[in-house]
Homo-oligomer: 686 residues x 2
């Protein structure tokens, strides 16, 4: 099941290759598959096998009650399979292997996103808060029960009133030295914890994020372990209340809900005290002096949520494209001329534009995610846990997660439409998956807020190269969200190096198809956009707070577009590195050629999408701009179309995992039967 799934029918069909003119390089599907699978290939293959387990696989049409109940069973099945403790300490039965842990969970979305997310809540959020924000005493007390699902738990960070702005949550944890307890309290309706998986039904405990107040002083947001329900009766404990969030647009196997607390007392022990502790007498102490840096360090410890969303969005995007491209390779509609056979959808230029540009994008997402995973594993396994790597990791996750999750929705929708009415039927999987993935774009950080964060970091880097007063002005704009923790870091120095290396030679680049020309154009755009925003914000030096806020608001869209351009560059660099670097060294020349076309389609597609910017800024001439579109439509798309099925076969998704009949033989059988019927017909047409 884990070997390459070739599509013998597709290869035997000469008609679908009919518009091939000239040679068509062959793709080594197995080698390309290995490149895509990356470092944690075995774990990913195992998780794909698990994803077709009937308890784990999504059942079309099950109602909310059935879906929630099956999802609970699925989590117990994962416990039985022993795959829930990979990130946890070995002494409690774990493997201390964060890369394997996330890689496995990412693939579970191919079975049912609700299972992946409810598992992510239990082991990735609730468990990780204990693991990464707590200390050994907490691990010993709670982690094994978490791992074995004996203590289902909620991750109570978000409130109705504060999602993206976590620092402003309203819940309080006030220390009482008399009893050595914290008093957890919800002061108003907007401070109810909200949208929490496991909170509506399953959860018997929660890691609650609250403002830590001791000795009359607020030390900012910290996490506390709070029992919320009687494990036997599942009734709320005294002082705890809540509500079910009810039916959602998707992901209805997860029991999201609300929690509120009325002076709930927990032992001092229950403060997850790795980054901040309170002594019995109420004295606060922290290894990180700066409250801002402390807050961002705690949040940064939970970066794996964003990492896994990036990976799962990529996995689902690949599935949607595999279905739509395999269907488009056999489905026929309209004849070019009377009496001619009907044309295969994927031979239409528009259909190629719709699906193959997105195929290039998903390859870029895959390779960029692999980079992110490696960085994540280096930091959290301790292989290379430096401040700089943590900083790079957080910025990379904040940059990639918005692009891949938006792309997933776009790709699922385009695949749905490219399959017509079939795409809307639940049995063909695309539409329900889109509904489930919708929330990906706003959870673990709203995509726009994440990109703004990346934009502010780009500004910070830029400010370091500016004169002092200008740098101070920029500092004013970046301090509020980025926090002092990052000022002075070098997460983005890569960009500066690129510019030093290549200078401003875009206009003299002879051939925009070259790797270096693409790199130069993409890099130059990021740098120029950031500089333009910085320049515009300099006027804020002499403004009052209100006017400065308005000035920022006026340029906020540009800043987010600059961050997006930066993230696109990171994806392009990852694709190019996979192609030209060590990892891709084993590819044969033909496979490398096809992959280069795909990379060019991604790179030139980015440039084409932002052509107005390149033209306005004199980076590309009008005639060269035209040449890019001509090259995409006239060369790249027809070439890639001929190997499109190979390129999705390299995802190594077996038919059983794909699970949509239209992509695994049903449509081909119908087409064959219809053509045989007409071949035997004698009734003259009208």
């Amino acid at each position: 099941m884990t070997t390459t799934h070739a599509s013998p029918q597709a290869k035997a069909d000469s008609t679908s290759d009919a518009n091939a003119s000239g040679e068509s390089p062959a793709v080594d599907v197995a080698a390309l598959g290995a490149l895509l699978l990356g470092r944690w290939a075995d774990v990913r293959r195992e998780a794909r096998r698990i994803s077709v387990d009937p308890v784990i696989r999504r059942v079309p049409g099950e109602n909310v009650r059935e879906h929630r109940d099956r999802t609970v069973k699925a989590l117990h099945r994962l416990v039985e399979l022993g795959v829930t403790g990979r990130a946890f300490p070995k002494r409690i039965g774990g493997q201390e292997d964060p890369g394997s842990n996330i890689s496995g969970f990412e693939e579970l979305v191919l079975g049912d996103p609700s299972v992946a997310i409810k598992g992510g809540v239990q082991w990735g959020l609730f468990g990780s808060a204990i693991l990464l924000l707590g200390t050994q005493q907490h691990h010993d007390a709670w982690l094994e029960d978490c791992m074995k699902l004996r203590t289902p738990g909620a991750f109570a960070m978000t409130e109705t009133g504060h999602g993206s702005d976590v620092a402003s949550v309203g819940t309080t944890a006030t220390y009482d030295p008399e009893t050595e307890e914290f008093v957890i309290h919800t002061p108003f309706r907007g401070a109810w914890k909200d949208y929490l998986g496991n909170a509506a039904e399953s959860g018997v405990a929660a890691t609650v994020f609250a403002q830590l107040i001791t000795q009359g002083r607020n030390h900012g947001v910290h996490a506390f372990y709070v029992p919320i329900r009687d494990p036997q009766t599942k009734a709320f404990l005294p002082g705890v209340g809540g509500e079910d969030d009810g039916v959602k647009g998707g992901l209805n196997g997860v029991d999201n809900g609300r929690l509120h607390f009325t002076n709930v007392r927990i032992p001092r022990f229950n403060l997850l005290n790795r980054y901040g502790d309170v002594a019995p007498d109420g004295t606060y102490a922290s290894p990180i002096a700066s409250p801002g840096r402390r807050f961002f360090t705690m949040l940064g410890a939970l970066v794996q949520g964003r990492v896994s969303l990036d990976g799962s969005a990529t996995a689902v995007s690949k599935l949607a494209l595999a279905i739509a491209i395999k269907y488009g390779d056999v489905r026929r509609q309209f004849s070019p001329e009377k009496g001619a056979g009907e044309t295969v959808l994927l031979d239409y230029g528009r259909h190629q534009r719709r699906l193959l540009t997105r195929l290039a994008e998903v390859y870029a997402m895959n390779f960029a995610h692999e980079d992110l995973m490696v960085k994540y594993h280096e930091v959290f396994s301790g292989e290379a846990d430096t401040d700089e790597n943590r900083q790079d990791l957080e910025t990379l996750a904040a940059a990639l997660k918005p692009l891949s999750t938006w792309a997933a929705l776009d790709i699922l929708q385009e695949a749905r439409e490219a399959c017509g009415g079939q795409g809307f039927l639940a049995v063909n999987r695309i539409a329900p998956l889109r509904a489930d993935m919708d929330i990906w774009v706003t959870f673990e950080g709203d995509n726009n807020v994440l990109l703004q964060l990346v934009g502010k970091r780009l500004l910070t880097d830029y400010a370091k190269r500016m004169s002092k007063p200008d740098a101070a002005t920029i500092g004013r704009y970046v301090a509020d969200q980025v926090g002092e923790a990052v000022v002075g870091r070098t997460g983005l120095r890569q960009l500066g190096q690129n510019l030093l290396d290549f200078g401003s030679t875009a206009r003299s680049v002879g051939n925009v198809r070259d790797t270096e020309a693409q790199r130069q154009l993409l890099t130059d755009r990021v740098e120029t956009m950031v500089a333009d925003v910085a320049q515009a914000l300099r006027a804020g030096r002499k403004l009052d707070a209100q006017a400065a806020a308005e000035l920022f608001s006026r340029h906020q869209n540009d800043l987010i577009l600059a961050a997006r351009a930066h993230a696109e560059l990171l994806q392009w660099e990852a694709f190019t590195e996979a192609l030209e670097g060590e990892r891709g060294a084993g590819l044969d020349a033909d496979t490398r050629q096809v992959l280069t076309w795909l990379r060019d389609l991604f790179g030139l597609g980015l440039i084409e999408r932002n052509l107005a910017w390149y033209l306005m800024n004199g980076k590309i001439s009008a005639s060269r701009a035209r040449a890019i579109t001509d090259y995409i439509d006239g060369r790249l798309l027809p070439r890639i179309r001929r190997r499109a099925v190979d390129l999705v076969d390299a995802f190594e998704y077996p038919d059983e995992l794909i699970g949509a009949g239209i992509a695994t033989g049903d449509e081909r059988a119908r087409q064959d039967e219809a053509r045989a019927y007409y071949a035997a017909q004698t009734t003259p047409a009208q």
Copy 2:
């Protein structure tokens, strides 16, 4: 309930207007509301009242069984209310008022899209096929039972193997002169009728589209009235079989299903014979000699489906924006500087970009739809039923339906994200509505296929101005889908006139903000794009069929983009006509000013989105291009933001109809409570 719903809270909140600099013109919400409601205002208001009826309103979380059952009840309720026969003949109890009929049904999506679509299947498709393709004998036999829902019926056109290409359906209707019957037969699996509303459960009859074969000759697709189920037992009649399409991505109140026929015999009478008849001896006759023109005339009679999808997509888009803008006007997140109050979402530049550009688009959709409705009513009421008007109507519907249905999905998604986690909860309506509306983009004609149809008509018009051999070449590309029926028509001559009037003066236009400058730029783009495609296709003159098909495929994307540009121009013209023409004459100066900003945002937004094209073709200079973006971000968005709530209040959707607490007071109450709490706080911050 039908009067203007002002939002007193929003108006009393000076903070949300805090960044107003200078005067802010007032909007006459009632006058603007009347302009948006258009000619069938009373019917629309009535339908909005009906939409909040508990039987008709969507229930969050109801399962497929419950949803289907309630939808059936809802249809009976519509019969009770007497609103199901507006398009039908007066002598059977109808009103012969097609405009009222469609206007009313469009608004029902605000209650439940499943109710609107199941009603549309019954009265708009099944009923209209009898009405418009049948003759008086058929009206007398079947229409009253249709109207009263005594005969639930399916519209059996689409097959599993043929959706967009209706002319190629495989089902046959072979005339047997011995018994004077037609034999309805499904020759292979791909010819099963598929995705038919009412087919899985409710339908006892169907209008079946099949190849009419008599005297050994195929006369093309015709419609037949075929009983399919025993009205009492609901068992399939002999020879009829079918399947349930099962759960779908949305619209699960409609029982879509499949039908197949094994030599099912129906009387000769059951041929809906308005455009083609068979005599008892089997002789075929038609008032339209050309088979192609006959086919397109029959299809054209059913244009109302596309008209109503355009209108219902617009209605839902307005609802989503009303929710997101009202929420964005009160929801706060992040403080610009420490100690400052939190900023209202709609005061962020990015949030304005996301929602207000779409608000401008939805106004354009509304006004363009009103034009379409008027044209539809003129043709089908007989007020002005000319060939030319029919042609214009079909082209307008094919152009507007793709844009508005894609826009609806885009707007619903952006509104969902702009409301964060709240947007994902079913109680806030946006996510379930998006799921339901998804199918809008491929039914009643796949959007890409419809735009290609428009593109081919643009080419046809263009060819008339070309030399003979060139025109013949173009004719080769447009004949297959457009059919001979339209060659020589003048549906798009308007475009040519615009060019004659304004010439090629875009580069010398002093101010791109002027109405005439916008018109010139938008018109010029359409004309140039069409000419470019025509020019590229001239090379096809000497190619064989295969090579000619490849050439077309290579330029198919450009053709579809040209059609899209044409449709955008039509929307812009409709907005401008509403503003400057007779209909908008009653607006006061301030309201006209605000509406002009909104029209400018729509027009300049279109130009900005296609800036690369304008720059490459030398229509706009780089400095003017920059000025457009500056003007949008710096002027238009902040100005429109101040009146944004008025602009959605003008939709006249009362709170009960909006039905999402986050937009009707809940969020404001939470914000007020939180601010009061913090105002009373004394604990010093960290």
